[in-house]
C-alpha cells in the first residue's frame, strides 16, 4: 500500500456534553473509494465535516498529503464537498456553478468555461452548461454538484450522503456512475452513507462506525464475510447471532439451512414466525422456545410457511466467531 493520502490521528469530538467521535484513527490511500458507513448518530457526518474543514475536532489531528490540516479552513485544503442537498448556487447557470471554484482561483473566463464543459461531460451532462439549477431533475443536480466539486481537482472528494435524496432506482444507477467517475478521475472519494448496499457496491475501503467509534474497517467483502464485531455483523447485512460460552457466533442468512443437511451442524429447533417473498429468495425468520431468533434466506421455491417447525443448521466454516 502506498503512503496514506489522508491520515486521521486519534480524533475525538464533542458537541457540548455529547461525545460524537471517540479516538478515531483512519488512514486513506490515494485513489481509493472509502465509504463511512453507520447509523444516524454514529459520527460519520461529523468525521466528514472534520475532513472538510467545517469542524475543528476537540482532540486529535488530520493530515492531508502529509500536511497538518486540522485547523485549516475549507477553502485552504485540497478537499471539496458534495453536499446532501447539493447546495447549488440557484442564481448561476450550471456552467457558473461548475466554474465557481476556478473563478475563485482566478482562472480566466474562457479557460474555466472550457474546463467546466469538460467536467460536465465527465459526469454525463454535456448539454446542461447554460441551464439553471431549477430546470434540472434531482439526479442532474446531483451530477452538477459532483462536477462543481471535481472541477477544482481536489486531492480528496467528500460526499455527504450524496444519493440520499434520490429514489431507489436512480440511486442504484447513480451508484454505478459514481464508481465509474471515481475510477476515471482517480481522485480519492470519501462517501458517507447509512445504506449498507450502497457501501458494498461502491467501497474498496469500508469503515463501519457506531457511536463515534470505528467498529470494523477493510474491504467490504471481508467485512461482510468475516465481520470482526457483532455490530458490523448485523449492520453490514443481517446475521443470526447466537451466544456461546464466552463470545458470539454470527451466521449470515444465506448460510443458514432450515433442515439438517449432510455436513452441517444443528443449531436447535425453532418455529417459523414470518416468511417474506423477495423475488429471488424468501426471507424467513424463526424463533426457538428460548427466544433465540434465526434469519435465513432460502430459495424462492422452498415450501415454508409461518408456524412450521424447522431445524436450523449450518456448515461449521460459515460460523463467524465474534469476540464479546
Amino acid at each position: 500500500m502506498s503512503e496514506a493520502l489522508v491520515e486521521v490521528r486519534n480524533v475525538s469530538h464533542r458537541f457540548g456534553a455529547t461525545e460524537v467521535l471517540a479516538d478515531v484513527s483512519l488512514s486513506i490511500a490515494p485513489g481509493s473509494y472509502t465509504v463511512l458507513l453507520g447509523p444516524s448518530g454514529s459520527g460519520k457526518t461529523t468525521l466528514l465535516s472534520i475532513l472538510g474543514g467545517f469542524l475543528v475536532p476537540s482532540k486529535g489531528k488530520v493530515f492531508i498529503r502529509g500536511e497538518d490540516c486540522t485547523a485549516l479552513p475549507p477553502a485552504k485544503r485540497p478537499t471539496t464537498t458534495v453536499f446532501q442537498d447539493y447546495a447549488l448556487f440557484p442564481h448561476m447557470s450550471v456552467g457558473g456553478n461548475v466554474g465557481f471554484g476556478l473563478r475563485m482561483r482566478r482562472v480566466a473566463r474562457d479557460e474555466r468555461d472550457r474546463l467546466a464543459r469538460e467536467v460536465l461531460a465527465i459526469v454525463g451532462l454535456p448539454e446542461a452548461f447554460g441551464r439553471r439549477p431549477h430546470q434540472l431533475s434531482g439526479g442532474q443536480r446531483q451530477r452538477v454538484a459532483l462536477a462543481r466539486a471535481l472541477a477544482v481537482e481536489p486531492a480528496v472528494l467528500l460526499l455527504d450522503e450524496p444519493l440520499g435524496a434520490l429514489d431507489l432506482k436512480l440511486r442504484r444507477q447513480m451508484q454505478d456512475e459514481l464508481k465509474a467517475i471515481q475510477q476515471r478521475v482517480g481522485t480519492a472519494f470519501i462517501h458517507v452513507t447509512h445504506d449498507q448496499e450502497e457501501a458494498m457496491a461502491l467501497a474498496n475501503h469500508c469503515v463501519v462506525l457506531n457511536r463515534g467509534r470505528i467498529e470494523d474497517e477493510g474491504p467490504p467483502e471481508r467485512i461482510y464475510l468475516r465481520p470482526t464485531s457483532r455490530f458490523s455483523a448485523t449492520f453490514m447485512g443481517e446475521s443470526t447471532i447466537m451466544p456461546t460460552a464466552d463470545a458470539w457466533l454470527a451466521i449470515r442468512p444465506e448460510h443458514l439451512r432450515l433442515s439438517r443437511e449432510p455436513g452441517t451442524t444443528r443449531l436447535g429447533e425453532a418455529r417459523v414466525t414470518a416468511v417474506v417473498f423477495q423475488g429471488g429468495f424468501k426471507r424467513v425468520t424463526a424463533e426457538a422456545t428460548d427466544g433465540q431468533a434465526f434469519i435465513a434466506k432460502v430459495p424462492a421455491e422452498t415450501n415454508v410457511a409461518p408456524g412450521d417447525k424447522v431445524a436450523p443448521s449450518c456448515r461449521a466454516e460459515d460460523m463467524i466467531h465474534l469476540e464479546r
Binding site: G52, G53, F54, P73, P74, A75, T79, T80, T81, F83, Q84, D85, A87, L88, F89, P90, H91, F100, G101, M104, R105, H134, R148, A149, V152
Partner: protein, 260 residues
C-alpha cells in the same frame, strides 16, 4: 337563501372597500376641480391645480427633498438591515434572541416618541434640524422593518450554499457579494420599497426634525393650515400615486415566486 348570503357578503365587502377608499377617491376627484374650492359640485376635470403645484417652488423642492430622503434613508436601512440579518442568521452571538428582539423593538414604539427622542439627542449632539436629521430618523424607523423582512427570508437552506462557496475557495466578502446577496435580492428589494413608501409619506418625524428645507408631507401640512384648496388635493393625489407605485413594486417583488 344562498343568493341572499351571497348578496349580503358582496354588499359587506363593497361597504368595507368604500370605507377604506372613499376618502382617497374624494381627494383625487376634487384635485381635478376647475374652480377654487374642493367641494361639490364637481366642476372639472381640469389639471389646473396640478399645474399650480408644479409651479410652486416650495412644493416642488419639498417633493425633491422627500424623494431624496426616501431613497437615501431606505437604502441605508436596507443595507444595515441586511448586514444585521446576516449576522444574526449565520453566527452564534451571545444573547442573540434578546438582541434580535431589541433590534425589532422600534416597530412597536410610536413615531412621536422616536421623533422626540431623536430631537433631544440631536440637540445634545449639536446636529441641527435638517433633512439629514429626518433621514436618520427614517433609518431608525425602517431599519427594524428591513431587518425583520430580510431575516425571515434568510433560511437555513442557504447555509450549505454559503458553505459550498467557502469550500470552493471564496473569501467571506466574496460569499456575501457573490452568493448571499444575489440569493437575497427579492427580500432586500422588497424591504427597500416598503421603507421608501414609509419614508415618503412619513410626517411626525420629519415635522419634528426639519426646519427650513422640509419634506412634502410637512409642506402639505403647512398648506392645510391656510384652509382647504384643490392644490392640497392635487399634491395629496401625487403623494398617493407615488405610494401606490412603490407598494406595487414591493408586492411584485415579494409575491413573485421563482420556480423551486
Amino acid at each position: 337563501m344562498r343568493a341572499a348570503i351571497k348578496f349580503l357578503s358582496a354588499g359587506y365587502a363593497a361597504a368595507i372597500y368604500a370605507f377604506i377608499f372613499l376618502p382617497v377617491i374624494v381627494l383625487v376627484v376634487f384635485s381635478l376641480q376647475s374652480t377654487a374650492f374642493p367641494i361639490p359640485p364637481f366642476t372639472g376635470p381640469s389639471l389646473r391645480w396640478y399645474k399650480a403645484v408644479l409651479g410652486d417652488a416650495r412644493l416642488t423642492s419639498a417633493l425633491a427633498n422627500s424623494l431624496l430622503v426616501a431613497a437615501l434613508s431606505s437604502f441605508i436601512a436596507a443595507a444595515l438591515g441586511f448586514l444585521a440579518a446576516w449576522g444574526f442568521a449565520r453566527f452564534t452571538l451571545p444573547g442573540s434572541a434578546l438582541l434580535r428582539g431589541l433590534i425589532t423593538l422600534p416597530l412597536t414604539v410610536s413615531y412621536l416618541i422616536i421623533g422626540m427622542g431623536l430631537l433631544v439627542l440631536f440637540n445634545w449632539a449639536g446636529l441641527p434640524k435638517s433633512l439629514t436629521a429626518a433621514g436618520i430618523g427614517h433609518v431608525v424607523i425602517n431599519l427594524p422593518l428591513c431587518f425583520a423582512i430580510i431575516y425571515s427570508q434568510m433560511g437555513d437552506h442557504q447555509i450549505n450554499i454559503e458553505r459550498a462557496a467557502r469550500d470552493l475557495g471564496a473569501r467571506e466578502w466574496q460569499v456575501l457579494t457573490m452568493v448571499t446577496l444575489p440569493i437575497m435580492w427579492p427580500a432586500i428589494f422588497a424591504s427597500l420599497f416598503l421603507s421608501m413608501t414609509f419614508s415618503w409619506d412619513e410626517f411626525v418625524i420629519s415635522f419634528l426634525l426639519t426646519r427650513f428645507d422640509t419634506t412634502l408631507p410637512v409642506e402639505i401640512w403647512n398648506l392645510l393650515r391656510s384652509g382647504l384648496n384643490p392644490k392640497t388635493n392635487a399634491v395629496g393625489s401625487m403623494v398617493f400615486g407615488v405610494s401606490v407605485l412603490l407598494a406595487i413594486a414591493f408586492e411584485l417583488i415579494l409575491l413573485r415566486r421563482k420556480p423551486a
